[in-house]
């Protein structure tokens, strides 16, 4: 008997006189993590804590800005660390997970190097150039390691660079434009990742990555459009809305095709929020608020009912 889920035991238990010992045995044998899972967990736990703590130790060391230490020694130290960690990662005997964790650590060290550079030479390296340089120069690590957490770090860096750029350099950009860009970048990343992994050109990407990126881009779209509704920037808003329409449609299509309930839930939720904002724009009287609360309840219920029907259909097809 493979494929037994916790929920299956829950359901049968309610309609049968299972004993504590029996249920305990099934849970321990089929549901709980076994020896191999624990070993894997402990190994990863130790190495992640090891690399994580050491790298944060290095970050704090340079944040301390030790005045007596000559700048060349400081730079040499970081560069030495980057070279040695990266070379360790190149050793053939190392397990691929560990290799990737080490590479992630050295990608963080590259950030330390640029921060140090800014600290020593006072190059007016405001935060935006720092993040841009960091992002650009770890590209090789990211591509070579092809490790999801490292890709995630990379994407966070890209987003941060963009936000800082809009705050420090492109101050004339409207809020909507910034949200449109953030939304588009993350949507493109999501689109490419999904396209590559469904066409089997890359290894399947873990769901947490897809879901986080999807959640981020949907949130950016929702905030951008909501701001657009209330502030009426004539130029950016229609562009954002049209991109959002296309991306949302693609998202729904992908959700239906890949049987992923997540996409089918967040996109309608975003649309519900946007419609509610539109309704408030029309009138913010009491009756409208009553209408909105009724609308939200009705629409969420409608979405949930449909999601459950779809799920039922999917499990029948299996």
């Amino acid at each position: 008997m493979k494929n037994i889920q916790r929920e299956d035991i829950y359901i049968i238990n309610r309609h049968a006189d299972l004993t504590e010992r029996g249920v305990d045995r099934v849970l321990k044998e089929k549901i709980y993590n076994d020896k191999d899972a624990w070993k894997k967990f402990l190994r990863l736990f130790f190495i992640i804590l090891g690399i994580g703590f050491s790298v944060s130790g290095v970050v704090f060391f340079f944040a301390y800005n030790w005045a007596d230490l000559h700048k060349f020694i400081k730079i040499a130290l970081v560069e030495g660390l980057i070279i040695s960690t990266t070379s360790v990662a190149l050793l053939p005997k190392i397990n691929s997970n560990v290799r990737n964790i080490i590479l992630t650590g050295s990608a963080v060290l590259v950030g330390v190097l640029f921060a140090l550079f800014g600290q020593i030479y006072q190059t007016g390296a405001n935060a935006y150039d720092f993040f841009l340089a960091w992002t650009l120069f770890i590209t090789i690590w990211v591509v070579v390691a092809n490790y999801t957490p490292l890709w995630f770090l990379y994407l966070i860096l890209i987003n941060t660079t963009l936000v800082l750029y809009s705050q420090q350099v492109a101050k004339d950009w409207s809020e909507i434009l910034v949200f449109t860009l953030l939304f588009s970048i993350n949507a493109i990343v999501l689109f490419v990742t999904v396209a590559l992994s469904t066409s089997k050109r890359i290894e399947p990407v873990p769901n947490w990555f897809l879901y986080s990126v999807a959640l981020a881009s949907t949130t950016f779209a929702t905030i951008g459009i909501t701001i657009g509704i209330f502030e009426e920037y004539a130029i950016a808003s229609p562009i954002l809305v049209s991109i959002a329409l296309i991306v949302f449609a693609l998202g729904i299509w992908h959700g239906l095709k890949s049987k992923s309930i997540f996409f089918l839930a967040i996109i309608p939720f975003s649309v519900i929020v946007i419609i509610s904002a539109l309704l408030i724009k029309v009138s913010d009287g009491e009756m409208m608020l009553l209408l909105i609360s009724l609308f939200i309840i009705a629409s969420i219920t409608f979405v949930i009912k449909n999601l459950m029907n779809i799920q039922k259909k999917w499990s029948n097809e299996r």
């Binding site: 299956d8 359901i11 309609h15 549901i31 624990w38 290095v58 608020l289 969420i300 039922k312």
Partner: protein, 355 residues
Amino acid sequence: MKDRRSIQELMDYLQTVEERELQFEKDAIIAAFESNNNQSLVIKVLSIFGGLLASVAFLVFLYGIGLYDSALGVVFFGIVCLLGAIWLNKISEKIIIDTVSVSFYIIGFVLLALGLGKLEMNENTICVLFMAISVISLLTTRNFILSFIAVLVLNGSVLTLILLNNNYDLIHLYVSVLALILTYVFLKEARILTLNVALSKLYGPSRVGLLFSFLFGLIVLGKGIIPLSLDYIWISSFIFISVIIYLISCIIKVIEVATVQQKVGIFIFSVLLLLSTIFSPAITGAILIILLSFMVNYRFGFGIGIISFVYFLSQYYYDLNFTLLTKSILLFSTGVLFIILYFFTYKKLAPNEKV
């Protein structure tokens, strides 16, 4: 949903692990699988967020029509909403009414708090009243989300009582008791499930509710927002560390550590490592969540545990009153310690592929 054949397979399998003949209510089981009342996490979260949004809009509406001018009106309306939510769940177990009842339930609590506050009722009395209401709802409803919110309100009221009365050190009692309950609930899953049907339905929402309540306690404990006396911090730490040591003894059994020497080594090392966190029980608490969730393969709890672990750890080093250099040395040596630990256990923990 499963087809009849796989349901039958499932029942046959369950029969093999039991010693005596089992009585299955076959039709009820098939019906339960068909109605597919087990919603995925996504649907539950959607329900909660929808309910929250609708409640906010409705509360603003009530403000607009001037309901808040009359304290008694607010209280009355709050009671009506709470009763309505519970009643809705009594008459139908359909998922469709989830969002409605969640909204009513949240609105009910908010209005009751506002109204009673206006009537200048003592805050402690309000907390106790809320505890009573949540216990009553736990006893009467079997709905997942409502029970989850009830568990949160119950524990939240206890936490609020502690904070309102400036008895800050009682927070140790709160987190310690919750840690013990949480451990019991996680490890005795089979017992609670088989005790009776009502408890088996409450199991899921209570587990996640207790997890969040425990986490809120840890946040209060770790954030330094309340002045805590250093004399009592060891209480939480002592309870957490003891529970973790107990869990380690369970893990040792699972990974089949052979020699007594190794076992003793593991215990001594773990105790030393955990003792270093004695003044920051929030970190140990997060480790407790991680180990418990991983043990029973509860993915959601595991994720929460990892996130809170990273959060409390950064909080700890951020708040630490040392120079950055000392912090750096501390962090770096901890890192080296774990790397050594990794290599030390490398062979033991390698997957048994060659066997």
